[in-house]
Symmetry: C3
Subunit: 640 residues, 3 copies
């Protein structure tokens, strides 16, 4: 695999006179890729049917002739005003029942058929015109599905589409569904919530108290499926006209739709990596941690996403947007510590990225993102990231090609489990993504590489250990795959605690084979409560009560079982703090014969097939196994 760099460019924002100079400067820097077009609908079609492709023809020509490969985006994330005038009911509705209006971006409901038709039309026009263009080397569909909480819409269009989706999920006679099947699956006898027909079913917002979790889970599945089919609509059109690979750029920390399912329709997975932008609101960590890393970002959050999107892309993945400086949208927007842009880039490559594209080429002086840094300042001088990108480009020249190998640990990530925890956290602040991330971090702090895998994985061979954290419903197929592996398996809290329709399984959780235990009940705790483990570490926030004849391998000081083992299967029945998780991860690695490292806080290591990387996320020098790493230091060593 060759490793490449790129950037995101908006020719429509700049005078045509400077396009060529920009293109040359990109090439000179050593960039391979330039993404364009994804917000340009109003310039391509200022009035319905009045298509203006000339400028885009020319931009692609100029960029291509300078030696760049174009990633062409479909412009469907920003329908022009006239589209909204044509379909006033195309807007998404928020949970409060209000239309989410024109004036920024992503102002559409995935369920609106009129808007889908409009998208099909413009995508067809673009694919026809550029499908065979020699410089268009890849495609991007839309932009950051789900960003600004746009996956879930409570619009009239969504309601009608949800009823139809349910009719298919609970099929009956003829075209209609079987409403009794739905009533039974959801347990609607509870509180007399039974329906007589599908057209009585509303979206689960604005109820008096919480709605039925089974109702919400089906609604969330529906909302995710709408993204999948919206994306597929575009992919099918592009494929008819182009052989170039198609990507989508997912946004970090967005879990409202199933990225694996969208990814199944794409050649490349890519994500938008804003380490400082994510730190304040998305990383589960305390004030001290966020203060220490305020200019570096969390040392595991990006790596987690790299590993996730490597899975979503079935190996092929990019960083489509890499933060190059301060952004405009986080609660606080510091500048990266000098060296971090280089570190983030190499970290992505260490996790297997094919390309890292900096967002954006030049900081725009106007509109919503005017405070978002680029590789160039608004006055076209180099911004601080420019030198770091240049350094990486230089380093890449001598770095050669690499391949990725299977990590020792596989960790199952399940979007549906995230929705399920959102629907029923049972304790304030408990989040699936945080629990998974904390377990991921536990292995990474031990220097262990992790492959994230989808819940549909059908082969776990090659892994020494498999971690399944907090996956509330485990489908039979995955259970069968887990049965088949000789690897060490670690189940996290609440795994297999629900059936497919959000009911507690008959016979109590966990609904897992070969586990001679049941969870009799669950407790959640206020943050001031800590329940100490025998030997160190604490339970925080969530605990299960385990009934088993087996002797637990880890107990709380009050005697309750915390970790139980049955052959190669380990069950962790609590949310633990870092010290507790470190013990569980260390023990699993020991059982699985996985090498671990004693890393300084903030230092991480990662391997490709050919190299071992060391990354120092700290703002000061560290020593690690004899090596010296400066602040933001990156060390790349050939594998022995």
């Amino acid at each position: 695999m060759k490793r490449t760099l790129g950037t995101c460019y908006y020719p429509e924002h700049w005078p045509q006179e400077i396009w060529e100079k920009d293109a040359r400067a990109m090439a000179d820097l050593g960039l391979t890729w330039v993404r364009i077009g994804e917000f340009a609908w109003s310039r391509l079609e200022p009035v319905e049917g009045d298509l203006h492709f000339d400028w885009l023809d020319q931009a692609i020509e100029i960029l291509g002739k300078a030696g760049l490969q174009v990633v062409l985006g479909t412009p469907t994330a920003t329908p022009p005003r006239w589209v909204v005038d044509k379909y006033p009911d195309m807007l998404a509705y928020d949970a409060q029942g209000r239309p989410r209006g024109f004036g920024s971006r992503r102002h559409y409901c995935f369920s609106h058929q009129g808007y889908r038709d409009e998208c099909a039309r413009i995508v067809t026009q673009i694919a026809q015109r550029y499908g065979q263009n020699p410089y268009v080397a890849a495609w991007q569909t839309d932009n950051e599905y789900g960003c600004h909480e746009t996956t879930v819409s409570y619009s009239p269009a969504a309601k009608a589409a949800f009823q139809n989706w349910l009719r298919v999920q609970y099929p009956g006679q003829g075209n209609d569904g079987d409403i009794e099947a739905l009533n039974t699956a959801w347990g609607n006898v509870f509180w007399s919530m039974e329906y007589n027909s599908f057209d009585q079913i509303e979206l689960p917002n604005l109820t008096v108290t919480e709605p039925n979790p089974a109702h919400v889970l089906d609604f969330r599945r529906f909302a995710s499926d709408q993204v999948v089919s919206f994306n597929r609509l575009q992919v099918d059109i592009i494929r008819r006209h182009s052989d170039a690979p198609i990507a989508h750029n997912y946004m970090g920390g967005v879990t409202d739709f199933d990225h694996f399912k969208v990814g199944d329709d794409l050649e490349i997975s890519s994500w938008d990596s804003y380490p400082l932008g994510f730190l304040e609101d998305r990383v589960p960590a305390n004030d001290a941690h966020k203060t220490l890393f305020y200019r570096q970002g969390d040392p595991d959050y990006q790596a987690f996403h790299h590993d996730l999107y490597r899975a979503v892309g079935r190996g092929r993945w990019w960083v489509m947007e890499q933060q190059p400086g301060p952004v405009n949208w986080a609660p606080y927007n510091p500048a990266p510590l000098s060296g971090m842009v280089r570190l983030w880039t190499w970290e992505a490559f260490a996790h297997g990225a094919e390309a890292v594209c900096y967002f954006r080429w030049r900081q725009a002086p106007m509109a919503q993102e005017q405070m978002h840094a680029g590789l160039l300042r608004p006055d076209s001088h180099p911004a601080p990231a420019h030198a770091e990108a240049t350094q990486v480009a230089t380093e890449l020249k001598e770095a050669g090609t690499v391949s990725m190998t299977t990590a020792p640990v596989a960790m199952v990530f399940d979007y549906e489990a995230d929705w399920s925890w959102q629907i029923q956290p049972q304790g304030k602040g408990l989040r699936y993504l945080d629990i998974v991330f904390d377990m991921y971090r536990a292995f990474r702090r031990l220097g262990v590489d992790v492959d994230i895998v989808p819940p549909t994985i059908d082969d776990l061979s090659g892994y020494s250990a498999v971690v399944v954290p907090a996956m509330m419903h485990v489908p039979d197929a995955l259970n069968a795959v887990l049965q088949a592996t000789p690897a060490q398996i670690l189940y996290g809290p609440r795994t297999a605690a629900r059936d497919a329709h959000f009911s507690i399984p008959t016979g109590l959780p966990p609904a897992l084979p070969d586990m001679d235990m049941v969870i009799t009940h669950v407790e959640t705790f206020r943050p001031t409560v800590e329940i100490a483990l025998e030997g160190g570490g604490n339970i925080r926030g969530y605990r299960e009560h385990v009934e088993t004849k087996a002797t637990p391998v880890l107990v709380a000081q009050d005697g309750g079982a915390v970790v139980c083992q049955f052959g190669n299967k380990t069950y962790l029945g609590a949310v633990l703090d870092g010290a507790g998780l470190a013990r569980v991860a260390t023990a699993l690695c020991a059982k699985g014969g996985i090498q671990t490292w004693d890393l300084p806080h903030g230092v991480r290591t990662r391997t490709t097939g050919q190299e071992r990387f060391w990354f120092n996320h700290l703002p000061h020098d560290v020593k690690v196994y004899g090596r010296s790493l400066p602040p933001a230091g990156v060390l790349r060593e050939p594998l022995a």
Copy 2:
């Protein structure tokens, strides 16, 4: 009085095959009561007019034949979907002006006449069918009026009904009211808020800044009256067909309607006691307190409600729902410390409960309350509470019958005062219920029994002391009763500070007889401000400035009067911390000749006519007057 146990059962949730086994197991445990039916409308009438009583006939027969007495609930808290389709405008509206939709429970506005007609119809059907059933030994109307903040509705139906209610309150010529009387009573000359007619009057939500407090108070009285008349509608129907006593199950901490007025139409008052569910959001206490009691619940909060509902039921009261394990709805949901379910049960009996029913018999695997524990687990094995309930059942057999006696202290509780403080707290966070509760706690920490009494009480004989905390308007009738008693009277802050229409009384507060003092002005404080009392304790949050020729019996270190005495009447003009309240309560008991105890923190004592109880709410052993109490310990001693 005989003391009994019971449970809440949903035969419609379970296969008919297990009903008999369930019934036998209930009887074997020693239960007397089983409540059923209160959410079953969609099974009784799945489609309008299509009544299905067979299954309920059979369930009652099976339960009754097993020796259980049935409490039959009317199903009006959960109208089926078809009822909402019939009356789309029956939904309550929230303060933001949004309808509160179908999909959970309590989705109706008390003011909607169509829904009232529908309720009358189904209640008539049920009462006719089961009014003479030998196993139906009691009734419950609806379920938890006001829960999920459903007393107050801002719907069009509520607006029309409020205007009509006002026409009656301010009567004029013919059918119309006297709008000038209303303008004068409300002081509408202020800010030109005067109305020309009743149909101009809107509900007091969504105003530019705060609405007129007199407007809001009348609206809150109206909303309360709507609950009273809604309940009376059902009671009148049931009475026509049955001689069995009728109860309603109030929810703890809900004060949005006048429970005394609803209770006046019922034979039995009952409430739903969730000690751990209430701790986080409803109990006024700091983090340390909530952490210490996180598995036990607050040591006074349930007792307060027991004493309140003994008053609401005029002596006859139950716990209709007793928390048996973790619940699903609090911010954090721990399991009770072992022994606490037994303690809570005996505590209810110590305060005079006739029956304690555990909610629910078996944990349901589906829908909203799937994480709510029962006496049985979802797999029908006994949950931890089962053994504790069994122990109580055994203990009850030898405990015999008891009677309740008058407590030394009466405390007046006034729902209208709660609304008045909500309308005008004057300082952020000041709440009537908290002020009353803290004063109640002060006496309970001294081991003193308290009777809560309604503001309409007409006889205070038998009491050594009467406490009237924070009752913003004191009606003439109560003033007369207070004048007549030789008991020590303690008025709390803001007592009699308003007339019946929320104006400051002529001559300044307190509008109480025989008090040679006026409150010239009031201060409220940020939480960081503490104003020390001479001799210990502090003013927190609220203080009145007293003008009097008398010498205060307690002053602040700055010299201001805090407590004044005029004969048997004591006036406390501030909100105090625990240390300050302890001094005031101790002094009152000394003056009234009431015995006090020096109890360890977390230990409480209560007497019936025949017994003294000791309760240890702490998670560790304590000694109290020579007795040893284990964690969650209960000691029952015959009265000397």
Copy 3:
């Protein structure tokens, strides 16, 4: 200039029998002014067209004959219910899209033409009747424009008016505007936000993510202009009938419209000063500060407004409402420390007030402000402030007339900059008003008098220093004036960082002449981050990165430039804590030859042309340069 006292009176609230006694008591106290009428519409015109002026005739006659001068308010802040019935669409809409209903005050949208017509009619009636009344010595338009966040409305009327306002701002052919000019100015090519016509432009609320800042800024300018024209409508009418000066009473801390522009149409500027009411929510300070000053109010907040409104009134200004005791509307409402009402009054005079009027004469027993103290209690006895007002009245008799002189420091205050920071804070919690206020405080703690000046000032002669903090767009005219002055100029962070349409200026900020520096990028920080300055003080929250060949005069410990100097121009590129700001202010005063003082914390000094005042805002005695000041002490010394 003569210094006078007054009060606010509502004859319509009290029986006519006591008006004369009230009037006599006011005169006896030594009051000159009495403001009346501003909320009395429903008594002047209870039904459309049915005018009742008799009572007002009589009230003015009684007050006038007692020797008082009447300030007559137009009643347009409280249209009666029948006006709203006539124009149901006259209500303002909040940002959530909900009409803000009748039932309190300020329930109108400034853009509604029907309501403007109604206002013109009632103001004409009043001006005709009282324009030549000998006792009506001044006028007040409406009441507290913008209070309760009423400047900005999202109503249909506002939308239509905004579109028309834009057509004028971006003029095109005929009556229509030039939509391409708007698209270019706003940068609407970004995210395809381009419009085809003005009637497509919506108000910038309820967008999916943040709207275009240029869109919002124009909307905020429009909203401000609507207040200006609404006020001018009334002024033009009054002027046709009366020669008495016209005032408006601005509310402290309200910055949503340009007070300078409103003030340009008035003779007198006045504001409503509630020192304790403002402390909790409006003053930027920590808990310790708010606790120390909880009964005194912030020592600089009122002074800042005094200096601001002296500028708004071009020298003529009043305190129209002075807090006399506890108020009803702040989160916490303590009583002023004894002496503070006198201190606040003298402080206003020290800053040049012509009159200070206490709000209100007598505390009302009813409606929304029943907990708002007056000079009299509701029972007509003197409230604590009465004696302090009497003392001031006595002191005034011997104090004689004074004149104001130019302060050594001018500080530019720009309402548009406040909106710009609100639109784009870039870091959570960053506010223009706070930054300006903290810089103001820095000079005041050094005992330096400050004149606040408008951004339209055309002559800075007489000033030794000029401070321009955080003014995001500096117009050319102001730049020219700043170029012309030999005074020391201190620019604060983010000055001239945007052009007139909220774009980053070509060539990077600051867009200021003679500054050999550029701001390359900006950082914002979480509150736990402190960046130490060399020599003391810290950067907090906001920092600019400066590129310059000059040697900075103040740097951070990390070496970054913080303060740069170019001749008489100093640029501060960060938000500093108090210690840091003290250093910057001290250095500026030294360079400008401005005398500074070493004042105890909480002590302030101010001069008129003839006197030096010393004010002790602390609750304990202090010594200052040999003088002793008791708590709330005021010392007035003739200038040497």
